[in-house]
Amino acid sequence: MKKLLLLTLAGAISYVSHAQFSEFEGNAGSTFTLSSDNNTLQIGGRTSFFYQYRVMKSYQGESTNEPKLDKDGFQIKDMDLDLLGKTSSKFVYEFHISLVDLATAAATNNTANPANPGIKAGYLMYVGWPVHIKFGYDKLPFSLGSISDVYATPQWSHSNLASGDLFSRRDIGLTLNYETWKSRINAFAGIYSGMGENFYEYGQDNSGSFEYVGRVEFRYPGKMTYHNVDEENSPVPQLRVGINGRYENKTQPTGQPTVLQSYPDEVGPYGIRMIDGKRSIYGGDLTVKYKGLSATFEDEIINMQPVDANDPLFNATPSSFNKGIIMAGGYVAQVMYNSEKIHSTFSVSYEDINVNDLIVGDQQWLNLSYAYKVNSFNSVFKIEYYLPEKEDVNSNPLKYTAQLRVGYQVVF
């Protein structure tokens, strides 16, 4: 796997690229731009709020004195600022921060939400050569659900598969990107710290090893953005097929504390974002758009090989049974319909994830959402109904049986 990714990286050096993950590039909501002889700088941002209502398992009604344990109430989803610039010497740079995440991290000593430290992008990219070279912190070229802009959908949050609980979504490192054959082939390859969003908390880990990530897309008849709603009402069918993989070996040096001891925030809620050993993730995705209808499907498989046979991930199973391997992963399927006549987008998605095949149980989620667009997704009213169809009582016990979020979003 590692060799394959390195070969992809080396091969990509001779080609061109144009794609970006910026949530603000080409967004008409961003209306502030300064330009001088050598530099153009766009100032953008996004703010959104919603009311969240959860149907709690333990809540028996007003007649009982049982405390209501849900989190009903208003929440701030976004309060982001973005600076995106291009220079005449063909450098692109971007700084994207979430003020909500920064404030939350500061107020809770980074304990409330360590995987969202407040920085969403900070990179410099050179676009003057056939291969675009990006250095810095940004989304990883992995997982369609992670790359895609959730703000440009009726949903309020990413799927569980691509939310960052199973694998990191952002990291610091070097990314090469190349497009060819009339933009039908789009390839990424990169090396990263492997510490994901927790790089700010821990820096590089004691192993000093990197994570290698690669992604190749075939798009027909041509380019396709990572906005999965078909707002263009495509007159001809558009297709994108992507495959991606990533690999890291974070075996800690002998005598050093384990990954779980040294980097408890990075391992994530299921203990699989980073493991003491080898981990590879591979998968693929499919996107189709036509006449307002769009459908996406994504599947990711996680293969973990901890060095310690007593690693908690093995769930105390004998090595003769587990063969030293733990598998995880899942799939997400989503169908959306956009109608400009009624300014509306409808979405249905379903996902099934298993965070450890040695622990009984998986989780299945149904998501129904609707957006009324006053001005595309730059000024939009969203309703999201989230229903856990099947609960994984061992890995992710839930207090609620349904969740409703209603709110408004503005991109400026």
């Binding site: 008409a28 953008g44 291009k86 263009e232 009213f381």
Partner: protein, 245 residues
């Protein structure tokens, strides 16, 4: 109770959302297309009567002169960043560069760069000027912005004269002066809009079947040509149909 309030809100949204299109309109389908394999991301096209050639610009900041089949004859040595618009007037070719908000004036005879003008647009980095054309009725240049859509008039030194917000479509990707009318092209709404030369009010809509239309031109026989940058194609249409409704 909460659900009832939500349902009422939702229904209200629907009630306010429907609107009709009172401007005459019709469908307009292309005859054939040709790949522009050697022009990366062709974004605008203009026909030059004098040379009987096309001038095509690329998102990669290159100005090309092509024959009527789209074959490259020559290209300008001076490049920009993100060429999105091209117009021919007298013995010069004018090119708009979207990202840095510039207009380049090339000499048509040798494609040498004569002058650069700075223009301003506060909209998003990559949603700025998508095309340039000349209004022969009002004797001024026009730059059209992609989103929000505006038509901006400039004098011959690219000093701004007037701005006209345009609400007929969601975005704008092309503009061309033809037979005393302004014709605009929308990418998201995939249509050509015929406009009044003085007020720019829409007169007619022509719905086209092209993915990602970017540049609009009319040749010597009044045929319509449209470039698609993502697909690197030049689409050939016949004459604009007469709308009867």
């Amino acid at each position: 109770m909460r659900f009832s309030v939500l349902l009422v809100l939702l229904f209200s949204c629907f009630l306010f959302s429907f609107k009709g299109n009172s401007v005459p309109n019709c469908k307009f389908k292309f005859e054939h297309f040709r790949s522009l394999n050697k022009i990366p991301e062709p974004s605008d096209i203009v026909y030059d009567k004098e040379s009987n050639h096309f001038f095509i610009v690329s998102d990669h900041g290159i100005l090309f002169e092509c024959d009527l089949s789209g074959n490259i004859i020559r290209k300008a040595p001076e490049e920009g960043l993100d060429f999105e618009g091209v117009e021919v007037k007298d013995s010069f070719v004018y090119v708009s560069d979207e990202t840095p908000r510039k207009v380049y004036k090339y000499r048509k005879s040798d494609l040498s760069l004569v002058k650069t003008y700075q223009v301003s647009w506060g909209g998003a980095l990559n949603r700025a000027f998508e095309s340039i054309t000349y209004n022969y009725t009002k004797k001024c240049f026009l730059l059209v912005s992609q989103e929000p859509v505006s038509i901006i008039e400039y004098d011959d030194n690219f000093k701004e004269i007037e701005r006209y917000p345009f609400h007929g479509v969601r975005d704008m990707s092309g503009a061309r002066w033809y037979k005393d009318k302004l014709y605009l092209l929308s990418n998201k709404d995939e249509c050509i809009i015929k406009c009044d030369p003085a007020t720019y009010a829409p007169i007619e809509y022509y719905k086209i079947n092209v993915l990602n239309p970017e540049g609009l031109a009319f040749d010597a026989f009044d045929n319509v040509l449209i470039t698609s940058d993502d697909l690197q194609r030049l689409y050939f249409f016949k004459n604009l149909p007469t709308i009867t409704n």
